[in-house]
């Protein structure tokens, strides 16, 4: 069933439509567009932010919400296969929003069920609704997405938001993407080989920070490291502090999918270029738009 499993499931036009729709939602009273529908939130991996934002989005649209997150998921599954859990959810609901620790879980689920599956993060693979939030924030601040220089900083290897963002940018025409990370956290070759726009891998943010329009910071994904020693080696290898921000363009913006740990100095929060809280505020309206797209048009 068509759903939103990868950001590749959306064309530029689809994304533009979601952005236009989200704009309208920002200052409007929500309408009960999903009244009578049931949205299931199947979060096999713990989440607070994404879970709550999908739950809020669904409720604002008048949908009923059923679901589970984190530890509860273990009791839901009780050794049951993912496919069987998805079949159960299919019987109960109209849309399945899923987060799972296995790469490709959402795609697999979408092949098992006839209901639309929205990927709310599958392992280190993709997180398409976060990319919509990211690009929407860029669009709101600049008025456009094309011709900007992006700087993706941090854990580019295990952060699924990075994969989805790099892929999502293919629908636009970025001027350049700097991929800034310590060598062990470099972006996956599989993703880089797909890109249709210029990119450069660099190790030190100071080298390029003055050129960047959008600085996208990621947390080191501790939970995805297979080797703990590898994590120890890189855990504090980068930080966005006032000194770095001083070198940025005046109209640049700093984004972060949150939660952050220590990779952005809290003093940066007061800088007008820090847009990560604004970015987080678009989580609900973007997800409302996504739920309506898949819950109303296609159901």
């Amino acid at each position: 069933m068509p759903g939103l499993v990868s950001i590749y499931d959306l064309t530029r036009q689809d994304m533009e439509e979601i952005f236009e729709d989200t704009e309208k939602r920002l200052n409007a009273q929500p309408r009960k567009e999903l009244s009578g529908k049931i949205v299931s939130l199947a979060f096999f991996e713990p989440s607070t932010r994404t879970y709550l934002s999908f739950e809020t989005a669904a409720k604002k649209l008048g949908a009923e919400v059923i679901g589970f997150t984190g530890e509860e998921a273990i009791s839901v599954a009780k050794g049951e296969s993912l496919a069987d859990t998805v079949r159960m959810l299919e019987n109960y609901s109209d849309i399945i929003v899923m987060r799972h620790r296995f790469d490709g879980a959402a795609k697999f689920a979408s092949r098992v069920t006839s209901k639309p599956v929205i990927n709310a993060g599958d392992g280190k693979h993709e997180h398409p609704t976060q990319t919509l939030i990211d690009l929407f924030t860029v669009r709101r601040n600049f008025g456009f997405i094309d011709n900007l220089t992006f700087g993706l900083l941090g854990d580019l290897k295990y952060a699924r938001v990075v994969n989805s963002l790099l892929r999502g940018l293919k629908a636009f025409r970025p001027k350049l993407a700097y991929l800034i990370s310590p060598e062990p956290l470099a972006a996956r070759r599989e993703i880089l080989e797909e890109l249709n726009y210029p990119y450069r891998e660099v190790r030190e943010p100071h080298e390029v920070i003055g050129e960047v329009d959008v600085l996208y910071v990621t947390r080191i994904q501790k939970e995805r490291f297979v080797d703990e020693q590898e994590y120890e080696r890189v855990k504090e290898s980068y930080k966005v502090d006032l000194k770095l921000v001083e070198q940025m363009k005046k109209d640049a913006i700093i984004l972060h999918a949150l939660p952050r740990v220590q990779e952005i100095d809290r003093r940066v929060d007061k800088d007008k270029r820090a847009k990560y809280f604004e970015q987080a505020s678009y989580g609900v309206p973007i997800r409302m738009s996504v739920l309506v797209k898949y819950g109303v048009e296609k159901a």
């Binding site: 496919a83 620790r101 296995f102 790469d103 490709g104 599958d122 599989e190 297979v226």
Partner: protein
């Protein structure tokens, strides 16, 4: 220069697999589950001259046919091989192997956290990215599989 040729008699009924990359005939036999103890008459020619490949291997197996599934696994390690089915000393069917665009259920994704390694119903599935060098991509997690990975999996270690 030696002008001697290696002569192997024709088989009456069975399969001739030609144009196997030099040195891979034993791997092909392994794919077919042939150990030598089955009692089949088999000729293995290794590193013989080939116009197409420079050097090649050939396997002749009497009284044994190669099915579709076996052929697709062989195509992974010998993409240019041809399979000739012989009856009464005549080639009655000639199949050029082609690496399928999608390979389902035959290979394992090297990513331990791929859903295909963690759910009994999630069958592995790869799409062909390139043939030379061989490169496949997992449709679920996008992890690449290269020629060495494929050979290791098919032949086993």
């Amino acid at each position: 220069m030696s002008s001697a040729t290696l002569t192997v008699s024709k088989i009456r009924n069975g399969t001739v697999i030609d144009h196997i990359p030099a040195g891979r005939s034993l791997a092909v036999l392994k794919v077919l589950g042939i150990t030598g103890y089955e009692g089949l008459r088999i000729a293995i020619l290794m590193n013989v001259e080939s116009k197409k490949l420079g050097r090649k291997d050939i396997v002749k197996i009497e009284d044994r046919v190669v099915d579709e599934r076996e052929a697709s696994v062989i195509s992974l390690i010998a993409p240019e091989a041809t399979i000739n089915i012989v009856r009464d000393f005549n080639v009655v069917e000639k199949r050029n192997l082609r690496l399928p665009e999608i390979i389902k259920g035959l290979l394992k994704c090297p990513n331990p956290l791929c859903v295909t390694n963690n759910d009994p119903e999630a069958l592995s599935e790869f799409v062909k990215v390139s043939e030379k060098p061989l490169r496949l991509r997992c449709v679920y997690c996008d992890t690449y599989l290269n020629e060495a990975d494929v050979l290791r999996q098919v032949v086993g270690q």
